[in-house]
């Protein structure tokens, strides 16, 4: 039975601020499945920490940073606005990336995509296997913390693989539209896989939600 994992503090992360009532605060999305649903590929403890602690912190800190940014805008303080950019990029990127990531995974996932997405993969990478190798290589190769991505290059009408450092959002930094992201920050796999990032990357293919990736692809092409 699928149930949605809800972080206990997910809905009350930021204090209500009346004077900013016109702007919608960001909130932690519920997971579309239970914390244990992705086992044995990603264990429940990782999923809970990843969602409830890490993603929640990005949401919380994004809201705080945006409040400060609003204040700096209101005062016309450009220096303060610039100083807040790294925090906006980091926390904003973290919120965007993780929100996509949870939908990219599913306990019923795995296998291969079908239809137009599979055709596009074969067209742009040669075969599904070659695409898989390329995405895995990009993800393994991230030095430090970051993400491996399958993205869509709207200008060329092509699928493209990219890696982004830290929480840099794919679209915001490269222009590619994110379809499938693989979190290779150590918090995403360390408790289960320790230093063996390649083992985590092999396992994650069993839970890729190709329906979601296809939906995102179809939306790009419009």
């Amino acid at each position: 039975m699928l149930s949605r994992a809800v972080c206990g503090t997910g809905r009350q992360l930021a204090p209500a601020l009346g004077y900013l009532g016109s702007r919608q605060k960001h909130s932690l999305p519920d997971l579309p499945y239970d914390y244990g649903a992705l086992e044995p590929h990603i264990n429940a403890e990782i999923m809970q920490l990843h969602h409830c602690k890490h993603h929640a912190a990005y949401v919380n800190n994004l809201n705080v940073t945006e409040e400060k940014y609003q204040e700096a805008l209101a005062k016309g303080d450009v220096t303060a606005q610039i100083a807040l950019q790294p925090a906006l990029k980091f926390n904003g990127g973290g919120h965007i990336n993780h929100s996509i990531f949870w939908t990219n995974l599913s306990p019923n996932g795995g296998g291969e995509p079908k239809g137009e997405l599979l055709e596009a993969i074969k067209r742009d990478f040669g075969s599904f296997e070659k695409f898989k190798e390329k995405l895995m290589a990009a993800s393994v190769g991230v030095q430090g913390s970051g993400w491996g991505w399958l993205g869509f290059n709207k200008e060329r009408g092509q699928l493209q693989i990219a890696a982004c450092p830290n929480q840099d959002p794919l679209q915001g930094t490269t222009g590619l539209i994110p379809l499938l992201g693989i979190d290779v920050w150590e918090h995403a796999y360390y408790l289960q896989y320790k230093n063996a990032r390649p083992d985590y990357l092999k396992a994650i293919w069993n839970i890729i939600n190709w329906e979601n990736v296809t939906e995102r692809y179809m939306a790009c092409k419009k």
């Binding site: 030095q143 430090g144 970051g146 929480q167 360390y190 320790k194 230093n195």
Partner: protein
């Protein structure tokens, strides 16, 4: 405690010095000699057997780069670090950099005659990454000890008071820097133009490249350094690190940085 700082310099078998002219190996050797005096041998109850279980002992003798012997008993670093955390960090992560750099030295022979510091300053990319991470992890392990922590003493105490008013304020500042770093990296206490500073190094960055400063202490804030014991609570890991700081190592580095200045 300052005696070892004045020991004459030995040839550096690990091709690493922690500054341009001083060799940290006298420091390491005296530390290990102290351990040896206490009569540790690898019997069933000795911690040295751990290193055989971890399969790192061969890496102690590889060339041109080798894995340093941990200057502490991995079972005695709680609550800062569990034995399990140290095993993964030392025997997997740190060891991998040794193996990688030796492989790179096979393909790039000039590396065989260089120190880690030289490689870090002159190279970028994968060679820099492995040399820097090897250096960083050496520095981190040497900067902690079983009976470490407490108030600083010696010249480092004076410099901390001079630059941070007092030890508590230094801890507050260091904690703030370590918490605010986005992503992986190392938080360094450095000295530059006779001033102590805290420097955030992203990913594999050291204060050596770009002559940012002379390193005194470092704290690893890659997630693998604290996740096993603290999960996402980096703040608790930082608090416990202060209780294990090897102030002798800090004083050694401070002394080394002042070389040439009377």
């Amino acid at each position: 405690m300052y005696v070892h700082i004045f020991i004459l310099f030995f040839v550096d078998p690990n091709r690493s010095k922690f500054n341009s002219k001083f060799n940290f190996y006298p420091f390491l050797r005296t530390t290990l000699a102290t351990i040896k005096k206490k009569g540790y041998k690898c019997d069933n109850s000795s911690y040295k057997c751990i290193f055989k279980t971890w399969r790192v002992t061969e890496l102690w003798n590889t060339k041109p780069f080798s894995l340093i012997k941990l200057p502490f008993n991995p079972e005695n670093m709680r609550p800062f670090l569990s034995t399990e955390a140290i095993e993964y960090h030392y025997a997997k992560h740190h060891a991998a950099y040794v193996k990688n750099l030796n492989n790179l030295a096979e393909e790039n022979c000039e590396l065989k005659k260089m120190t880690l510091e030289e490689i870090i300053v002159l190279y970028n990319g994968v060679i820099h990454n492995n040399a820097a991470q090897l250096y960083n992890h050496n520095f981190f392990w040497l900067g902690i000890k079983e009976d470490g922590g407490g108030e600083p003493y010696g010249v480092i105490k004076e410099k901390i008071e001079e630059n941070f008013t007092d030890f508590q304020n230094f801890k507050d500042q260091f904690t703030k820097e370590a918490l605010s770093h986005f992503g992986s990296g190392w938080i360094w206490l450095i000295i530059k133009k006779n001033k102590l500073k805290i420097h955030q190094g992203h990913d594999d960055q050291t204060p050596l490249k770009g002559a940012i400063g002379h390193p005194i202490l470092t704290l690893d804030i890659w997630e693998h350094a604290y996740y096993v014991d603290y999960r996402n609570a980096r703040i608790d890991y930082i608090k416990e690190w202060f209780n294990k700081i090897n102030w002798d190592f800090a004083n050694y580095n401070l002394f080394a940085s002042l070389e040439g200045q009377c």
